[in-house]
């Protein structure tokens, strides 16, 4: 009972969009798919949903090829939001659900419920184009889940949402998970992934660079993160002189350090105490996903600048 992506490859002209991507998503888990623009996230999702056929490799759900499952197994929220601009919100939600075989009356009832939950009931009979982007996105999410799919595939669901709506969407995610749905979503907002995901995969230029449970991935570098606050703050030079330690984020409240694989984080504490400083805070943690990502792929922003113009257009 899981979603298995096995060694998929896809080439568009000269661009090898996917180059042997393999990962699994356990049923009922929230799975984050991380990567810069053009890394291959959308292409992978389109292959999972059967819009595109991979050159090689296979995708199965519960040991059967994805194509054999009825369409209502799948819920898809594309990255580019898609609604009929001049059609009323409730009407198009009912239309989408009816394509999956949901009866119109049932779809109408559920859609009204969901619109109320997302606090957009008053827009039910408005044309979609008259809604704000955030509200359109909420409608889009309802369209994705209205037919109660087993697997939700969402491309950048949080992009462009304000903090209030991000919170609303997160709670809806968790409710979906509690209902036993399997959620796969892509994002480059790594904090969201860290907060929500049971498992993640990081993809870079068509290749998977890390995958597993969120904790496994975070630990995969072997580094550890130390957060330290002492009475001697402001003078950080001594930290740099410690072996296998690197200051990653000097801060007012605390300083974040990276302790190389194999080194003992307790050495930092001992050194601080040895200097005669008072230690207010000492915390050993796994590195954040962002740190892992930066280490494995490079800075997100740089990637976006170099990759976005060329690759995204070439991977329909």
């Amino acid at each position: 009972m899981s979603l298995e992506i096995t060694d998929i490859r896809k080439r568009f002209g000269d661009v090898q969009a996917l180059d042997g991507v393999t990962f699994g998503v356990a049923p009922g888990e929230v799975f984050g798919f991380l990567g810069a623009n053009g890394a291959g996230k959308t292409t992978t999702m389109r292959i999972i949903l059967g819009f595109l056929r991979p050159d090689t490799g296979s995708v199965s759900w519960s040991d059967r090829p994805v194509g054999e499952w009825p369409r209502r197994t799948w819920g898809y929220m594309p990255e580019e939001r898609g609604l009929y601009p001049r059609m009323e919100v409730l009407e198009q939600l009912v239309f989408f659900a009816s394509l999956y075989g949901v009866s119109r009356s049932e779809a109408r009832r559920d859609a009204v419920d969901w619109l109320a939950r997302f606090r957009i009931s008053e827009y039910a009979n408005r044309k979609a184009e008259s809604l704000s982007k955030g509200n359109q996105q909420k409608v889009q999410f309802i369209a994705t889940i209205l037919h109660e799919p087993d697997v939700l595939v969402m491309d950048e669901p949080f992009a462009g949402l304000d903090p209030v709506n991000v919170a609303l969407l997160k709670s809806a995610f968790l409710e979906m998970r509690d209902r036993g749905k399997t959620l796969v979503f892509s994002t480059h907002q790594l904090e969201q992934a860290e907060e929500l995901c049971d498992s993640v995969a990081i993809i870079d230029r068509g290749r998977l660079v890390a995958s597993g449970t969120t904790r496994e991935v975070k630990r995969s570098t072997g580094h550890q993160t130390v957060r330290l606050a002492t009475s001697g703050d402001g003078d950080l030079d001594w930290l740099g002189s410690l072996p296998a330690v690197q200051v990653t984020r000097p801060g007012r409240d605390y300083t974040e350090l990276r302790v190389a694989a194999g080194a003992d984080p307790q050495a930092v504490l001992k050194a601080a105490l040895g200097r005669g400083d008072e230690v207010f805070r000492f915390e050993v943690a796994d590195p954040s996903l962002e740190e892992v990502f930066v280490e494995r792929v490079g800075a997100l922003d740089v990637e976006e600048q170099t990759l976005a113009p060329t690759s995204e257009g070439g991977t329909p």
Binding site: R71, F96, L99
Partner: protein
């Protein structure tokens, strides 16, 4: 058919959405008003005519002993019955003919326009009759010509009278001779065609061909536009997850086809109703005078049925390809370019059909007979041939079978292009890409 529910759902949305737009309502209204107005043109024209003063011709005669009544002769010639008029029906008269006693007053009335003309008859010195027509009408005009003809008749009758020919014998002298029109081909026995009938059956084939051509061009374009709209609003990916490309394509064609059907029904229905109520209305407006309209001759149930079948099948064949073409571009501006091949082929079919219907091409030639079996052309050509009555039932059956086969093939090809095309953004595919898409499917 597990595809059917989704095809119907897509068609339903397309239909309801289109029909509710203001463009559709307004367009249909304007067309209906136009058709009704055209249908009522004969009534309106007769009404305007009847509103005019009846043209009157006055006769002044110095002779009172003429055996032929000049008034009756003039009346008979000026108001010669046409085919549709009941002879002797006084309401049908175009001219009123009266006698006057005062020539001077009559001439003054004619000059002021109260009378159309005054005909003065006098005895000439050579004992014959002399005629003078006082009128402001042009000397070569119809009235002058008809009065001249009547005058000749009156003069001949007067001469016969003076030769003492019995008035009873005169009737036989003036009786029309036997006169017939026949085919030059001695084998041909059918009744000679009247000019009216020939005109309307040519018009019928012509009109039906135009209607089908308009349906393909206008609504085919609509199909392509609608596909591009779904692509550019990115709603395509959402519905693509729910329904197979084939279902989306078939549903769209069906939905737009239903819109087209509704609009055509509204227009043709309004036209038919207008024609039917024309009798009563004209009676009301013209107080008994009946305008001469009838349903076009040659319009049989069979021809109507053929029109519907060729219209539906022709539209389907083209619309399926229009949808595939629409899926290849992502901007509305590019639509006219990708639909060019279909527009050209349908225009060719339409032109050939019109040339054949109007006689510029020989409708019985072998080339036309062969072309009329080709699916993309048959909706136009078969209708023209049928309207001209030059086609055997098996030819119609064969062309319909070929048309249905062509639709099946087009659906298959278009479905594959569509499946790949709808995810294609920002690039205009060439022939090679289309070929590759057709082969691989995506």
């Amino acid at each position: 058919m597990r595809d059917l529910p989704n095809i119907l759902a897509v068609a339903r949305r397309e239909f309801l959405f289109r029909v509710r737009t203001r463009t559709f309502a307004l367009g249909t209204l304007i067309l209906v008003i136009g058709v009704v107005a055209i249908a009522f043109v004969p009534v309106i024209v007769s009404y305007l005519d009847s509103a005019n003063e009846e043209p009157t011709i006055a006769v002044w005669s110095s002779e009172t002993d003429l055996t032929t009544d000049p008034v009756r002769t003039l009346d008979a010639l000026l108001n010669a019955p046409t085919e549709t008029q009941v002879p002797g029906d006084p309401t049908d008269r175009a001219f009123r003919v009266t006698t006057v006693a005062d020539l001077g007053a009559a001439r003054a009335a004619a000059d002021e326009g109260d009378l159309t003309a005054v005909l003065a008859i006098e005895r000439a010195p050579d004992d014959g009759l002399a005629f003078t027509l006082y009128t402001n009408e042009p000397a070569v005009g119809r009235v002058v010509q008809l009065v001249r003809q009547a005058s000749t008749t009156i003069a001949i009758a007067d001469r016969l009278d003076r030769l003492d020919v019995d008035p009873a014998d005169q009737a036989t002298l003036f009786a029309p001779p036997a006169y017939a029109v026949a085919w030059p081909d001695p084998e041909r026995t059918d009744a000679p065609e009247g000019p009216v009938e020939e005109g309307s059956s040519y018009l019928l084939g012509f009109g039906m061909t135009i209607l089908i051509f308009m349906m393909i061009i206008l609504y085919g374009n609509w199909v392509a536009m609608s596909v591009v709209e779904e692509k550019s609003s990115r709603v395509m990916e959402v519905i693509l997850n729910a329904a197979r490309p084939f279902q989306l394509l078939a549903g769209k064609v069906m939905g737009v086809g239903a819109v087209a059907g509704l609009q055509y029904l509204a227009i043709l229905g309004a036209g038919a109703v207008a024609l039917l109520i024309q009798g009563p209305v004209s009676e009301l407006v013209l107080r008994g005078g009946e305008a001469s309209i009838a349903l076009p001759e040659g319009l049989t149930i069979w021809l109507l049925l053929e029109f519907v079948v060729y219209g539906v099948l022709g539209f389907t064949l083209y619309a399926v390809l229009y949808a595939a073409a629409g899926s290849l571009v992502s901007r509305q501006e590019d639509v006219s370019q990708v639909v060019m091949p279909m527009a050209l082929i349908s225009t060719a079919g339409y032109m050939i059909a019109v040339y054949a219907a109007t006689g510029l091409l020989d409708i019985q030639s072998g080339a036309i007979i062969v072309l009329s079996q080709i699916p993309f052309l048959s909706p136009f050509l078969m209708l023209s041939r049928s309207a001209a009555g030059e086609v055997a039932p098996w030819e119609i059956a064969l062309s319909i079978v070929l048309l249905i086969l062509a639709i099946a093939v087009a659906l298959w090809i278009a479905g594959r292009i569509y499946a790949a095309g709808v995810l294609l953004y920002g690039q205009r595919p060439g022939i090679r890409t289309i070929w590759r898409l057709t082969r691989s499917g995506m």
